[in-house]
Symmetry: C2
Subunit: 213 residues, 2 copies
């Protein structure tokens, strides 16, 4: 995707360019809009600006989206889709609660460091611009993850796999550690990408586990 | 402070109301502006709106501030002042690196949960609207804290007080855990305020320490 560089040949009709499925094109629009909103803020990013960056006219863009607020909702839902597909659904089947949590941390860290969709992560965490039902929808999806972490920690304590800790605080400590990464981590920085997940697992779980590792 | 409720008798001259020192009044303006920016975003918050909420005319407000961007810089510098006064300067003299880090976590957690100046915390972390020298100034103050944490972890490993970990990852894990609190913690929620700092200390340091506690 090279948004705003080579406008794709799509006029007011919103016709798709060759080789782009409607689904791919829609995702590109979400990614481009996310990048702009991240850069300039939601209020300061006009529909006109998003259309230009997508190589569309304003009317062409409205062929793909319903409204600016609905676009933001779609970006956030897309972010949650990516997260649930690449992290949550992968670890739910793991029987052992500590292995489940550690694998979850590994996959979540990699999702954040891999850089793709970074803007979507930022929007999910920083811009509470949604209101009403849209906000409730996204919050419910976020809460599902918190509950998953909390119940996994509860299970790990109950089974004697980790020493007794407050599962709610542990869940949010986990989230804070991982969700903070996009604020400081650079792929060319002092911490190699492939070490980060292991270091974080060790910091949180290294001192909690009781059973054989 | 009851911003926007009872307009203080200050006209276009920007004269102070009785009982308010210029310093107090200035701080109130920063707090009121921070609350509005947090609520509606920096772009959407006009100088006119800030003036009204402070019970001032626009001209009256300009008696206290230089520009909207400079106001944002002042809010961020005020946030860093509060943090350095109540956290960093309190723990710098502690000789033992682990005690220093644990006390730092306790004081930082309490600063976030106590609720006062919560908006300033959010602005410091979420709104990268500053540019140029102003941004560099705030980033330098934030980096000072990161370096303090990192060097304390380095010292703790070197002295054999904690097991070997990557000090940089540990510093940002500490920051992530604590800076994430404002996103989920409620004073009337399931985790009592007085327990939170202790639980977090235990999660991060409980599994790291080697020496006698």
């Amino acid at each position: 995707m090279r948004p705003g560089v080579t406008p794709i040949n799509a006029g007011a009709s919103g016709r798709e360019s060759a080789g782009h499925s409607p689904k791919t094109r829609h995702r590109e629009i979400l990614q481009t809009a996310a990048r702009l909103i991240c850069q300039d803020g939601y209020e300061a990013t006009s529909i006109q600006r998003i259309a230009e960056a997508c190589g569309l006219t304003k009317a062409g863009l409205y062929h793909h989206i319903r409204s600016k607020e609905h676009l933001l909702l779609e970006i956030m839902n897309y972010g949650m889709d990516v997260f649930e597909e690449q992290v949550l659904s992968q670890v739910l089947p793991i029987a052992d609660p500590v292995e489940r949590l550690k694998t979850c941390m590994d996959k979540h860290v990699r999702l954040v460091t891999r850089g793709r969709d970074k803007e979507i992560t930022i929007i999910l965490h920083e811009h509470a611009t949604l209101t009403g039902d849209a906000q409730a929808q996204i919050n419910a999806r976020k809460k599902r993850y918190v509950r998953f972490l909390e119940s996994s920690f509860t299970e790990a304590v109950r089974d004697g796999r980790i020493r007794p800790i407050n599962p709610k605080v542990a869940a949010f400590a986990f989230l804070g550690m991982v969700n903070w990464i996009y604020k400081w981590f650079r792929r060319d920085g002092a911490v190699p990408e492939e070490q980060l997940a292991r270091e974080m697992q060790d910091l949180l779980f290294g001192g909690l586990e009781r059973g054989p590792r």
